[in-house]
């Protein structure tokens, strides 16, 4: 899923205090799974803003609402649209995609981002999410035993490791980052395919990734 983290409270409060009535709009998909912007988190943020407003003597009315996803037009239904239009401004706890899509659906409304969107990741265990994919547009996981060198190697090496791999950890942050190339090596060993790592991997075509410019996918067979 797309992972995100709630923005620092001060930043959000700075948005909130500019208005009299704000809607905190949660998203029920990715940010719910990574516990940054779902219904629960909307409730917590609302309480925090109320408490802070009490402390500072500000008057801010807060409305809470969560929809299934903010990246599909269907979920901005009548009721949601009314709530959004009623508010002076919206703090969306959806990922960057949801915030922008919300803006596109409600062109005249002020919509603030309430989370910092981070990476494509998986739940390693409850409360711990970790990056796995960089969206490079040209997946080579088959070549590396299912461990992505682009996303998980700090230097995106295709012919790694570099000299900074020690005890299976990456020197950039030995406590938190595993050396992807150690993982690749271990995995290819299990698969009995170590010899494949002796092949020189040629330079990558980065034009399929974000480097080539903002991307889109169009399926003519599906378009109405």
């Amino acid at each position: 899923m797309i992972t995100a983290q709630r923005k620092p409270f001060d930043e959000i409060y700075e948005f909130a205090q500019r208005h009299k009535k704000i809607l905190i709009l949660g998203c029920g998909t990715c940010v719910t799974v990574c516990m940054a912007g779902g219904e629960k988190e909307v409730g917590v943020l609302a309480s925090q803003i109320k408490l802070a407003a009490q402390e500072k003597g500000d008057q801010i009315e807060i409305v809470e609402h969560t929809i299934e996803r903010q990246c599909d037009r269907e979920f901005f239904d009548e009721a949601t649209s009314r709530i959004i239009n009623d508010a002076d401004a919206v703090i969306s706890l959806a990922c960057g995609v949801g915030v922008q899509f919300c803006v596109e659906c409600f062109n005249e409304k002020i919509i603030y981002p309430g989370v910092n969107t981070t990476f494509y990741g998986a739940t390693v265990e409850q409360g711990h999410w970790s990056e796995r994919c960089a969206g490079c547009g040209d997946c080579v996981l088959d070549q590396f035993g299912g461990v992505c060198p682009i996303a998980r190697c700090s230097k995106s090496l295709l012919n790694g490791p570099c000299g900074g791999s020690a005890n299976g950890k990456c020197e950039v942050d030995p406590e938190n980052i595993d050396c992807a190339w150690q993982l690749i090596f271990d995995r290819m060993k299990i698969l009995g395919r170590l010899d494949e790592l002796e092949k020189n991997v040629p330079v990558k075509d980065w034009s399929t990734s974000r480097d080539g410019g903002p991307r889109k996918i169009v399926r003519e067979d599906i378009k109405l």
């Binding site: 409270f9 629960k40 409730g43 402390e55």
Partner: protein, 165 residues
């Protein structure tokens, strides 16, 4: 025995304290304190929950939003939870809630987690008295810097199912 501070608090508008207590330990201890005729501050409103693991972060924050001066979360001793680890989850959530309170400018000392076994009536009385004194001191310190007093409207005997809306 009530301390001088608490007596003084009783004379003035009392701090409103919500005590989220688990049925199996802390609530039973509070009950016991009552039967033992031990004195503890009457401004504490006890909310009985099946387990402190039922407490979620927004339950605590909402109590403050609604006007609580202090919130105590009282559960079983570590290792003694009827539901094995509910109290351990509560410890982590209380820590997180303290952080969230600090972000909003609310003194995180107004929230505290206590571990009290069912047989520890006297301990319940002692801790609730200590906490009340702490809150009284904090609120009087804050009250002297404020020109208006807050109106404390606190729901009594809140049921265990608290809606987060």
């Amino acid at each position: 025995m009530l301390t001088d501070v608490t007596e003084k608090i009783m004379e003035k508008p009392e701090p409103n304290i919500i005590a989220l207590c688990c049925h199996y330990c802390a609530f039973t201890a509070a009950d016991l304190a009552g039967t033992m005729r031990l004195q503890y501050p009457t401004n504490i409103r006890i909310v009985r929950l099946p387990c402190t693991g039922r407490v979620d972060v927004n339950m605590i924050l909402q109590a403050f939003v609604e006007g609580a001066d202090g919130v105590m979360v009282a559960g079983c001793e570590e290792g003694g939870c009827h539901f094995i680890s509910g109290n351990l989850r509560a410890i982590k959530r209380v820590e997180y809630a303290k952080k969230l309170l600090a972000e909003t400018g609310v003194n995180p000392e107004r929230l505290e987690m206590y571990h009290i076994a069912a047989s520890q009536g006297p301990l319940f009385a002692q801790k609730s008295t200590e906490f009340t004194e702490r809150i009284a001191q904090i609120m009087s310190g804050e009250a002297s810097t404020e020109s208006t007093t807050q109106t404390n409207e606190v729901k009594t005997d809140e049921p265990a199912t608290v809606d987060s809306k």
